[in-house]
Amino acid sequence: MKTAVQKTAIYQKKRPGASRWANKWIQSPQWFLGFGIAVAVCLVVFVLNVVFGRVHPGSTWGLGYGIAAAVLFVGVFFYGVKRRTMKVRALGRAWYYLQFHVYGGTLFLLLMLMHVGFQVPHGVLTWWLWALSLWVVGSGLFGIVLQKWIPTLLAGGVRTEVNYDRIPELVADLQKRGDAVAESADFAVQDFYRKQIAPALAAPQFRPIYFLGIPSGMGGKAKLFASLREMQPAEERIKLDELEELYAAKMDIDAHFTLQRALRGWLYLHVPVSVIALALLGFHIFAVLYY
């Protein structure tokens, strides 16, 4: 019997018995299997096609591949539509749209390449359409890699979770609290705060080092805190502890700022180009039908 969690959450990722690798990359074995079968069928058809004749975009088969690719390309845009129509509850779960987006998008590339007979097209419009299609699918696959890699980094490395949009507000709050603690501290702590901590608390900071691992971005300052702490009386140590807490929290926030930004940033590589490619596809279909 399925548990509530499995029933309600499409929780296919963590499949007992499957390897960690497989669980991480394949959220749904059913979708993956379907994709595999579709790829195999396409390749078999294409090989037969090559054996028994010549494939070019204008041939019956070539046209068929092109139509299938165009339909898929339009279909994968429904994920974007779903994200913009969250209010319409009848549209079902976003997860299904994303699965179709990923597998359908990759299959589109294969069909598009079959359409052009795995050749580089000569026309300007078709060349651009070919190039942009490669870019769109390539950037999409790059996005998937980021989406598998960064969550693991964040889940393993930070203690807190923050909404990206709230980061400026949270940092401002940390800074305010840091200033308040430092104000009541003695000169040495104040000086240390002003020189070493305050600049870090001033604003969210993008630190590429977090891509390599989060703890490696936290290091250094701990030693400074430790050496200053040794020279301070008990009540100043408490303040140093508080400042260290605030600093650590800020490092966590910076990790979120850096990595969540990357998770959002790659969409700029993917989405605008996809929209241009869709427009070019429209032109391409129009041109084929018209001429």
Partner: protein
């Protein structure tokens, strides 16, 4: 959040004002003729209830007491509402009746289904052994019920001590001078089981929760009185309708009701100590208890008990066990029914059905304890769940951080289906790689409901969704301050209250409303946060057992 002294005294004043206004907020026809607050000790001594107490105690109680005159026909409260006030009748007659829910006051004191639910053995970690008790998420039924379905049929909900009175439909119960009512709901934070209407013009002393608690703590006479009323009004009927005692001779149960002890525990109170002699059997009326066992030099939490569950079946059924097998500690304020061992053994002797019921529970308890001791993660999860209040939750939003891409589509999905205002924050406590998002748990005992001056925050149906009615909310922030899980935020609507607003002090002020998760109960499509997560890593779990399963599946592939 820290509040400075000036702010806090302003808050107290504001609360006082809201308290005075809570009745007038119902409108001009509410029937409240006069309300006077903070009676002096000498004024209070005019009433029999307060005569035994010294001036010092009465002065302490005074801020939470008011004297109200009501006209005939006024509704004091409705069935299902949460109040932090008890009413003592000085003059007049009040009539109590059931008018809404199909559930009568005679709800089981102990529900075997509930025991099996918590006591079942969790998944064994290979994902294959699944237990049947976990119910899939069901969109709340209110809409369907509005189309004619019976209300209040939640099988796992034990209404137990929320009942002040055991009434049948159509029956009215009259209370007069010297009677008290509403105290059980107020003291325990449970919904009122009946509707109360003044049958004549009345003078009532209205005692708010802090004063009730002080009285119960400081005066054994008061505690005895309140317990006696509970016994008289409802306990025997509850025991009779409890599956555990169904079939047991009615007369015996009535006698039993007089012999059982009603126990109120404070946080940290020890109910049973491992190894000590077993002297009773317990039914949990409300609250949560931590069950722990000694392991090596230390002690680990093996499970927890909640409303409707029992304690003592293992020890009383299995021959040769030497004393209590577990130490049981109250987590918060807990209410228990204690049945002395001799009485309970006589029930076991005379009634094989009771014995059979208990064996099922005992076996589950033993299995669960054994499982927990073998799985080092379980005690941690139990401790975490007790500490963070997850045990309270009927629906908890959990996010798997290993998968979550922080896209915030869950938050946007929530906002887009709720007038642009997200009802939760994707932040909160972490357990392992799971985030317990700051979204309402739809608690078993929702403390946020107590003290809402207008009743804007309410259960949409007993035992289910807790929601705020924007049209009635006056933005006082009581609920947000009360919620221990930061699940309510106050939201500026950028409107001002119109000149016709009630209470009057609102007029011309900025309009704020309390904003919280309503479990998307108005939609059949289920929670928008879960549905809009493109990575399927946001879950609504209904219980700790769901969480255990989630974790077990997660760990199975590590």
């Amino acid at each position: 959040m820290s509040v400075d002294a000036a702010d806090s005294s302003a808050t107290v004043l504001q609360q006082q004002r809201l308290y005075e206004d809570r009745w007038s907020a119902y409108g001009a026809n509410a029937g409240l003729l006069h309300l006077s607050s903070k009676p002096s000790a000498s004024e209070l001594k005019r009433f029999d209830l307060f005569k035994p107490y010294d001036d010092q105690l009465l002065d302490q109680l005074s801020p939470d007491i008011s004297i109200a005159k009501w006209e005939k026909g006024a509704i004091l409260f409705e069935e299902g509402s949460y109040l932090d006030v008890a009413f003592y009748i000085v003059e007049g007659t009040v009539s109590l009746f059931l008018d809404k829910h199909a559930t009568s006051a005679s709800q089981p004191i102990f529900d075997t289904k509930l025991v099996e639910a918590v006591a079942s053995e969790p998944s064994q970690g290979d994902g294959a052994a699944q237990t049947a008790f976990v119910q899939p998420y069901q969109p709340p039924k209110e809409k369907k019920e509005a189309k004619g379905k019976k209300k209040g049929d939640g099988a796992n909900i034990t209404y137990l001590a929320s009942m002040d009175f055991d009434l049948a439909h159509g029956e009215e119960h009259q209370l007069g001078r010297g009677d008290i009512f509403g105290e059980i709901g107020a003291l325990n934070g449970w919904p009122q089981s009946v509707t109360a209407r003044t049958a004549t013009d009345c003078t009532l002393v209205q005692i708010r929760l802090p004063a009730l608690q002080k009285l119960k703590l400081r005066s054994s006479d008061f505690k005895e009185w309140v317990d006696k009323l509970y016994r008289e009004r409802t306990l025997s009927q509850q025991l009779k309708t409890t599956p555990l005692f169904r079939g047991t001779d009615d007369r015996f149960v009535e006698q039993l009701a007089n012999r059982v002890e009603l126990i109120s525990c404070s946080p940290g109170d020890v109910v049973t100590e491992e190894g000590a002699a077993v002297d009773a059997f317990y039914l949990v009326r409300s609250g949560f208890l931590r069950v722990s066992q000694k392991v090596g030099d230390g002690e680990v939490a093996v499970t927890y008990l909640r409303k409707g569950m029992t304690l003592g079946e293992v020890e009383l059924l299995i021959d040769g066990l030497d004393g209590w097998q577990t130490t049981v500690t109250s987590v918060g304020f807990t209410e228990l029914v204690r049945i002395p061992r001799a009485d309970f053994e006589s029930i076991l002797r005379d009634d094989p059905a009771v014995r059979q019921h208990l064996w099922a529970a005992a076996i589950n308890r033993i299995k669960e304890t054994g499982y927990t001791k073998q799985n080092p993660e379980q005690p941690d999860l139990i401790e975490f769940s007790l500490a963070k209040g997850l045990v309270q939750g009927n629906s908890i939003l959990v996010i798997d951080l290993d998968v979550c891409t922080r896209c915030d589509d869950c938050v946007r999905g929530c906002a887009s289906t709720h007038d642009g205002r997200p009802r939760f924050v994707r932040e909160g406590d972490r357990y392992d790689n799971f985030l317990i998002a700051r979204s309402c748990y739809h608690c078993e005992d929702p403390v946020c409901l107590i003290g809402c001056p207008t009743g804007a925050i309410r259960r949409t149906n007993v035992g289910e969704v807790v929601a705020v009615d924007d049209n009635i909310c006056i933005g006082c922030g009581n609920c947000a301050n009360k919620c221990p899980y930061d699940a309510i935020v106050m939201h500026d609507t950028e409107e001002v209250w119109p000149d016709t607003a009630l209470p009057e002090f609102l007029r011309g002020r900025d309009r704020r409303v309390a904003s919280k998760c309503d479990l998307c109960y108005e939609s059949d499509a289920g929670p928008a946060c879960v549905n809009n997560c493109p990575h399927a890593c946001a879950f609504r779990i209904n219980s700790i057992e769901d969480f255990q399963q989630l974790q077990a599946v997660d760990h199975a592939q590590r």
